[in-house]
């Protein structure tokens, strides 16, 4: 039956069965149905086909499709982990940056003490160096010094020994420091040329701290930016 009916007519019949024709179109189809038995038969077959498909009914879902939290996160499994890693790195580097910065600020907040100590320490190195030959010379002097001058010589020897002990307690790092003149009260010679090397000697660790601060700060910024970017991508 279908073959005798044009495609357009078939479409109209199909829409007619579903009540999807305009009032005018419906009237036209009903008029034709009254006079065309083949069209009526085609309509009947169409209704049977439609009813057969509708008889399939709705199946029950074989299981629940509810979502678990990890299912929603699993799709972006890599993203939450990456986000957490970068966020942690950003936090840790930020904290380290703050700690180093505070340490640096506190260190530079003691300018009055630092220069005197820094000057005293290098000076003590020279004092040791000077003290060593001095000790030897003192021994020689003792041999020749009269009895009334002996207490003075012994005091100088004790000074030299004390300075040696101080220097040893400063440790190996100090050995790179240039050895300037000793304090004037020890009576030893003061080397003015050594004074100009103090800023360079002291600035080396400060420069290192600055570099560390810059690196930590940059690292914190970069990791923070990446974490923020990942977070926005997760939300989208």
């Amino acid at each position: 039956m279908k073959e005798r009916i044009s495609r357009r007519t078939w479409e109209q019949l199909s829409a007619y069965v579903d009540g999807q024709l305009s009032a005018r179109e419906r009237a036209r189809v009903e008029e034709r149905l009254q006079t065309d038995s083949h069209l009526q038969q085609a309509l009947d077959d169409l209704r049977v086909t439609r009813s057969a498909v509708q008889s399939l009914g709705r199946l029950r879902a074989p299981r629940n499709f509810t979502l678990a939290p990890e299912m929603v996160g699993q799709r972006g499994e890599r993203r939450p982990r990456l986000f957490n890693t970068f966020r942690l790195a950003s936090v840790v580097s930020s904290l380290l940056f703050v700690v180093v910065l505070l340490g640096d600020l506190l260190g530079s907040a003691r300018p009055a003490l630092m220069p005197a100590q820094e000057v005293a320490a290098p000076m003590q190195f020279e004092a040791v160096e000077e003290a060593a030959p001095l000790a030897k010379s003192l021994e020689a002097e003792e041999m020749a010094v009269p009895e009334e001058a002996r207490p003075m010589v012994e005091a100088r020897a004790e000074d030299a020994a004390a300075e040696e002990e101080v220097v040893e307690s400063l440790g190996a790092d100090e050995t790179s420091v240039v050895l300037p003149a000793s304090p004037p009260e020890s009576g030893l010679a003061h080397d003015p040329a050594a004074d100009s090397e103090i800023p360079r000697a002291v600035s080396a660790p400060i420069a290192a701290i600055r570099v560390v601060e810059i690196v930590l700060g940059a690292f914190a910024l970069v990791t923070g930016a990446v974490a923020l970017s990942l977070s926005r991508r997760n939300r989208s």
Partner: protein, 202 residues
């Protein structure tokens, strides 16, 4: 909590609220997937994918028919699954009984209140119709399932497949014509109520 409240809560990230919507719509989505894809395992995958996708895209829902919105997502999931299967053809596994015989109807399709003869008849009809559906092109199959199986009207079906209403009308008519031709071959298997007249000789 009504549907609108569940949707609002789910849009704020409340997974429990979204799961309430899943329970309400999972039969609808699974039916669409099963009737279009024709295989249970793949239909389950497509349905699950659709709900996961719906949760992620919930912020794009701006009102209107939530049913149509979900059906659109599962429609896309079905197309994806069919494209994937076309690239990697798989032999669908049919469930088997204890005697290792293929079961035509999975256990969840059985109506416990049915007489055996009725159940057999229903299964034969369902199998015949599903085989005819499988022979349709995906586009035709999608429309006939939306309108004749799921009960959508033309306008809603047009929203789901994102095509004009005229396209729905045309595809549905042609799909029904092909279904009719296919079902004639199973005439003897069909209940009398669904037996089509034999074609009159030309």
């Amino acid at each position: 909590m009504d549907e609108a409240a569940l949707i609002r809560a789910a849009q704020k990230g409340d997974l429990e609220a979204f799961n309430g919507l899943v329970l309400a719509y999972q039969d609808l989505l699974y039916n669409q997937a099963y009737r279009v894809i024709g295989e249970q395992g793949a239909a389950e995958d497509a349905t699950q994918e659709a709900f996961i996708s719906a949760y992620r895209k919930l912020h794009t829902y701006r009102g209107g028919s939530f049913r149509s919105w979900l059906l659109r997502i599962v429609t896309n999931a079905c197309y994806d699954e069919l494209r994937r299967r076309k690239r990697q053809p798989v032999v669908p596994l049919k469930p088997r009984s204890a005697d290792d015989e293929e079961l035509e109807s999975p256990a969840w399709m059985v109506d416990p209140g049915e007489l055996p003869e009725q159940a057999l008849q229903r299964r034969e009809l369902a199998d015949a119709i599903q085989r005819c559906l499988d022979q349709l092109s995906v586009d035709f199959r999608m429309v006939v399932v939306l309108v004749d199986v799921q009960g959508l009207d033309y306008a809603e079906a047009a929203q789901v497949i994102e095509k004009p209403l005229g396209t729905v009308k045309s595809r549905l008519a042609r799909a029904r014509g092909r279904m009719q031709d296919c079902l004639r071959k199973f005439r003897e298997l069909l209940p009398s109520a669904f037996r089509l007249r034999e074609e009159a000789p030309l």
